[in-house]
């Protein structure tokens, strides 16, 4: 593990407030999800359907995207394709510059975090304000989100109250969440009114009708995509779905897995810009299809199911590692198990492969995934790929396993080694190892199972059994 990752982990583990915040939050989300999926049979059936829908999408991606583009164009939605984050940012900048836009209001979009859109626009003197309450809080504190559904989950009420006082000069009563939300509502309302462009993500895009589907509870998504004269929707290309008939299943899986809700307050279906006789809505709607490594993932038969992800966050909610180190420790847009699988594939195993070590392969993530992504198996496979592609084929660890294999391949050698270890068991207290930082080192047994079984069978033979 790199010093940076190790450092971030140790920092997180040493922060009792952070640990308490995450502990409480993850437990809360797990319980809510459990209640929403209390019917085992329904969970299993939904999950199977969800997995089948998403796998079908992965297989038919090129044709579905072409159909989506066709339908969107027919509906008056302009479609742009971006191979990577830089291209996506350029496309968005060009639209903004054409409109002489200076102010952007944003709905929640993890894809926009992925391409670091806010920073890019800021460099070009375009103000980009987050309108989702959690994202707004995080932006105020110059941080990145620590969870893909609840961005400010690492902060508690007291910390947010202090933040508002410090950064906005607005003091609210201690523990008064309603007051804090009221502050956010007031400030952001102005931004909705004044914005030149609204940018959103896309939860699902329906190919056969050219429709963008967005789920939310707050209403900021609807405001961002209705008030400004221009709406830009940024979408990872795997988010396309074939038709509206599959939407209820996916929606049921998404909202229950994410927050335990059977449905979010708003499900918004956008199929075009404002028509001539309509009175509100954006006059221009743009859809930016983002590749940024996704097409490459699809080519890999073992790893392509990574693209099934509907970004619900259930995996990280159930991950005992994430619960303890929080989202920022991963240092990537997507944290937790899905982050450990996506980030090395998007940014390279050499750069981000170390994320794969922060996993005990306990399987809670795969068990919770609503579309049956076998996350532990993907992590394992990526560990194999990491080793196969490494420039350091003779690392310390590789040598350890080489020796391990040699010993365990040869029964006689194995038994000799066992006998040697047993003979030297007195030296056990002196073996250096990270294990010993919090555990005693167990001593090898005086006689191995092999030996005892052999002796036993000798005794039995002698007794005529």
């Amino acid at each position: 593990m790199s010093t940076n990752f190790s450092q971030r982990i140790e920092q997180a583990l040493a922060d009792p407030q952070l640990r308490a915040n995450f502990r409480g939050a993850m437990k809360f989300l797990r319980i809510k999800r459990q209640l929403a999926f209390s019917d085992e049979q329904e969970w299993r059936a939904l999950r199977k359907q969800g997995a089948a829908i998403r796998q079908d999408v992965i297989q038919r991606l090129p044709e579905l995207l072409i159909q989506l583009e066709q339908q969107c164009l027919q509906n008056g939605i302009q479609v742009h394709w971006a191979q990577d984050g830089d291209q996506a940012n350029e496309v968005i900048l060009e639209i903004a510059q054409n409109k002489q836009a200076k102010r952007v209001i944003k709905g929640k979009s993890m894809a926009s975090e992925e391409i670091e859109l806010n920073d890019f626009l800021a460099k070009h003197d375009i103000e980009c304000i987050e309108s989702d309450m959690g994202e707004y809080i995080v932006q105020l504190d110059h941080e990145k989100p620590s969870h893909i559904i609840m961005p400010a989950i690492h902060k508690n009420t007291a910390q947010i109250t202090a933040l508002f006082e410090k950064k906005l000069g607005i003091k609210t009563p201690e523990g008064d969440v309603d007051a804090l939300i009221g502050v956010g509502r007031r400030i952001l309302r102005e931004k909705f009114e004044q914005a030149d462009i609204g940018i959103s993500g896309v939860n699902f895009a329906i190919a056969d009708t050219g429709t963008l589907c967005l789920v939310e509870n707050e209403g900021n998504g609807r405001l961002s995509t209705t008030a400004p004269p221009v709406h830009i929707a940024l979408m990872g290309l795997e988010k396309v779905i074939p038709n509206i008939q599959v939407l209820p299943t996916l929606q049921r899986l998404l909202t229950r897995s994410a927050t335990g809700q059977h449905i979010t307050t708003y499900l918004n279906l956008i199929s075009g810009p404002r028509k001539k006789d309509e009175r509100d809505g954006p006059k221009e709607v743009h859809l930016v299809l983002l590749d940024n490594g996704r097409a490459n993932i699809r080519q890999d038969e073992k790893l392509q199911n990574t693209l099934a992800c509907i970004r619900c966050g259930a995996c990280m909610n159930h991950c005992p590692v994430y619960t303890r180190i929080g989202g920022h420790a991963y240092g990537s847009t997507y944290p937790g198990p899905i982050g450990q699988v996506v980030t090395p594939q998007l940014k390279g195993l050499a750069e981000e492969g170390e994320l794969l070590d922060a996993c005990s392969l306990n399987g809670a993530c795969g068990e919770a995934c609503p579309v049956e992504i076998d996350l532990p198996e993907l992590i394992r496979t990526l560990r194999h790929r990491r080793q196969e592609s490494t420039s350091n084929a003779w690392s310390k660890e590789a040598l350890v396993w080489l020796v391990w294999a040699k010993i365990h391949q040869h029964p006689k050698l194995y038994q000799q080694t066992t006998r040697l270890a047993a003979a030297l068991r007195g030296l056990t207290p002196y073996i250096p190892s990270l294990w010993r930082k919090s555990r005693n080192m167990p001593k090898p047994a005086k006689m191995s199972l092999h030996q005892q079984v052999k002796d036993r069978s000798n005794i039995r033979k002698k007794a005529g059994k």
Partner: protein
């Protein structure tokens, strides 16, 4: 010696895969596994050439070393009529669920692996309906807690069977810890490679298990037991110099069924 006039019943044979951890550190659990299998009427075959299932390098990303070890294993337990019983859910899972993937590049080996997979069982699950529950000797009252290892829970799906077995034992009280299904932090090499995270997880699990008031912590996986047990003993002040309370389910069952250990 004259032959008996009775026909000798041929016992059904099972292979025992002891696992390298039990072999080197907890051989008693292996002997207890054999004792239980014999109690249930099986003849246990323990090929001396067995070593390891290959899981440690496999999970760490090192396929080639894992493959060479696993090849040894599938060649060794080759009799298709003999079930393979493993006193560890995680090693059983490696053989049952991961060997077919590991050997996918070679058709013959894959066939051997698939065949072995079909007849591989975790020990307690294999025995659960074959033990003489109605003939339990009187044993002292005991409070126990069960650590359902991740492999038992999510891969082999035998955690509920472990529970069922304990429910049929006399004079014990069974407790489950807070955050019952959370990983104990062992994860094989994870315990060393991600030591700081693992340490915290292990401490939480140890605390939760002991907080049940149980006198013994039971599980079917020696890796977890080693992790939890050696941590409890290490943290003298946090756990009030508590002796290692961990015990393999096989050893516990041997004690409760009053079996003698052979010397």
């Amino acid at each position: 010696m004259p032959h008996s006039s009775k026909t000798i019943q041929k016992k059904q044979q099972v292979y025992l895969f002891g696992t390298c951890l039990i072999d080197n550190f907890y051989p008693q659990a292996g002997l207890d596994a054999i004792a239980l299998l014999e109690l249930a009427g099986f003849e246990v075959i323990f090929p001396q050439a067995q070593t390891c299932c290959g899981q440690p390098p496999y999970n760490s990303g090192f396929k080639a070393p894992a493959l060479s070890i696993a090849k040894q294993t599938i060649d060794l337990f080759s009799d298709e009529g003999i079930p393979l019983v493993v006193p560890s859910a995680s090693c059983a899972s490696m053989i049952k669920y991961h060997y077919p993937t590991l050997f996918e590049a070679n058709t013959n080996d894959k066939q051997l692996a698939l065949n072995l997979s079909q007849r591989t069982f975790e020990l307690i699950d294999f025995l659960h309906d074959k033990l003489p529950y109605s003939q339990q000797p009187k044993c002292p009252h005991l409070k126990v807690t069960l650590h359902e290892s991740c492999s038992a829970l999510r891969e082999m799906n035998v955690a509920s069977t472990w529970h069922k077995v304990l429910e049929q034992l006399d004079n014990i009280e069974l407790f489950f810890p807070e955050d019952r299904h959370e990983c104990c932090g062992f994860g094989g090499t994870f315990s060393v490679k991600s030591e700081p995270i693992s340490a915290v997880m292990t401490h939480d699990k140890s605390q939760n298990l002991l907080a049940t008031g149980a006198e013994k912590i039971l599980s079917g996986d020696c890796g977890c037991l080693m992790n939890i047990g050696e941590h409890i003993v290490f943290e003298k002040s946090a756990f009030k110099k508590q002796a290692n309370p961990c015990l393999h389910l096989a050893s516990f069952l041997v004690a409760r069924f009053g079996l003698q250990h052979e010397h």
